[in-house]
Symmetry: C2
Subunit: 330 residues, 2 copies
């Protein structure tokens, strides 16, 4: 019998289609993604002139915008939002528009064209997260921005247009709808039970254990009970923390370790699939004491159609318990 | 300057990325989808035994489950939901599940393996919509179902697994989140302005004209002001109607004409792209007097990444006004 599962935070349902279910190992038949060598890559050493001037770089030597860096952050050359002026709300008859003010940056993970995050050493992953944190803190000061979204698109099927491993950071003048859904849900839960719904989930997942993939002193990685897609994985601090920027240095180190190990299990277990991950952290400039930041990782293993696009309800063809059990082996 | 546009119904924002914008004709370079001949197609004449027994067929002659039909409706062989028993809510520790009770049917558009909807004559499209309507009305009586979703997935990239043109009907025991967003939004609008927000939009679009693609006495097809993706198109009755099943026979005829003509413009203008369309109609067994049923058509021309998946906010790389102007020419 198929099963519907309800997301405890947002109340949204997913369908776990057991009649169409696939065993976790069957997903490992996806094609491995190998970054293609390109003649000229704007993210490789020597081509720093091809990007807008850097806003951050970790380097032992060398001048800004020259080689020698370990992680480099630059504004996106083709930005979805422009970092200038104020976001103004304009009435357009019955409709509303806003000028597209915001930030759009690229975090280049390393100078190596084919060094994927799961194959990096822990120090390098830590530098990537440190770059996230510094830019997050810096842009948090901007009163024109209300939300910061950091993502990785890995593989063409997951929306990547450049192979060289990188993240993108978006500073938005609005709070996006999926985050609003989580904020509303966690507030409702708090009003009813006087508890953070995320802290409750963490406690439950540790006790249950069946959906956990990695656990350290400070973080756990697990597959949510109402996983939307096969191998959906969350990485979340055990301690209650609203904002990504609330992390201490030792927590950042621990988070890097869990992120790398989780990505390595996905890399080994399902043959380096195309994937996306993103950060959900509380909106800026306000207290959201019921929210709890986390990363969400979703491999792109299936194609969504009119059912998913039209309803927002996803038909998941794998059981999260089976996926977690499978990944733990790697 | 990029622009954010707010959906008047749900309040959700989209980003119109003018810096990354593409001219409408550039989308016509997508590959044309031609249904592949397969040795044995379960939806072709002579293979009726390969599907579960039909629940509806229009035929001039022949016995049930034999050839001679014009449109045929069968239960899905690999259903996402099962049409038996009652949907029971089960507590599973802190989480909730529900048994996957619902309907999942396939509407085979015609016996012809490669006759796409935009290439059909109007009578055949009318028969397809008539099949939607009859099954919609029949399943509406089932008190276990709360919402009926009808979709088309055209092309592999849009989630189609069989080439022979067909629709799918899902009877759901829940109201899905995107429909809830529209219901909540239209209720709020009504409470504030004492008007149906959809009727307001229709009036506005007819007056403005810039985003309209087709207009008849009873229906219009237009690109929404806050289009999520290039060439998103809605088909909506001008008269206020909550439920798809409220349509009269003459309205059904008019709707078929507009659906066919709009699909033909997309077929000709952007070279038969992969696409999805779906029906949004009010949930069952209750009055939703502020809701207004419609079809949403979205060609699959871009790849979504971690930004869209993580935020629910879409970066649209085309202006709906330009897309509508382009489609009107065909």
């Amino acid at each position: 019998m198929p099963q519907l599962r309800q997301d405890l935070i947002t109340g949204k349902w997913v369908i776990i289609a057991t009649e169409r279910a696939r065993r976790p190992h069957s997903f490992s038949e996806t094609k491995r993604i190998t970054p293609k060598k390109t003649k000229i890559c704007p993210f490789c050493y020597g081509n720093e002139y091809m990007t807008p001037p850097e806003v951050l770089a970790f380097r032992d030597n060398g001048k800004p915008n020259s080689s020698g860096w370990k992680v480099r952050v630059v504004p996106n050359k083709f930005p979805a939002l422009i970092h200038e002026g104020k976001p103004e709300l304009i009435k357009n008859g019955i409709y509303s528009t806003m000028s597209g003010v915001g930030a759009h940056e690229v975090i280049i993970h390393s100078p190596h064209h084919d060094l994927l995050l799961p194959l990096m050493n822990e120090e390098q992953v830590e530098l990537v997260l440190k770059a996230y944190l510094i830019r997050y803190k810096e842009l948090s000061k901007d009163l024109n921005l209300r939300f910061i979204h950091i993502i990785v698109n890995h593989g063409k099927e997951a929306g990547a247009s450049l192979d060289h491993p990188h993240s993108q950071l978006f500073g938005l003048p609005i709070v996006p709808s999926f985050v609003m859904d989580e904020l509303d849900g966690s507030k409702k839960y708090y009003n009813k039970f006087k508890k953070c719904v995320y802290c409750e989930i963490i406690k439950n997942e540790i006790r249950d254990g069946g959906r956990v993939i990695e656990e350290t002193d400070e973080f756990i990685a697990f597959e949510p009970f109402a996983s939307k897609l096969p191998f959906e994985t969350w990485i979340i601090p055990k301690k209650h923390m609203e904002h990504f920027s609330d992390m201490s240095e030792s927590e950042l180190r621990d988070c890097s370790k869990v992120l790398r190990n989780t990505m390595k299990k996905i890399y080994d277990g399902i043959n380096d699939p195309p994937l996306n991950y993103w950060l959900h952290s509380a909106p800026l400039h306000n207290q959201y004491k019921n929210y709890h930041w986390h990363f969400e990782i979703i491999p792109k293993l299936t194609t969504t159609g009119g059912f998913e696009l039209g309803t927002g309800t996803i038909i998941n063809t794998a059981l999260p318990e089976e996926c977690a059990k499978y990944l733990r082996k790697f």
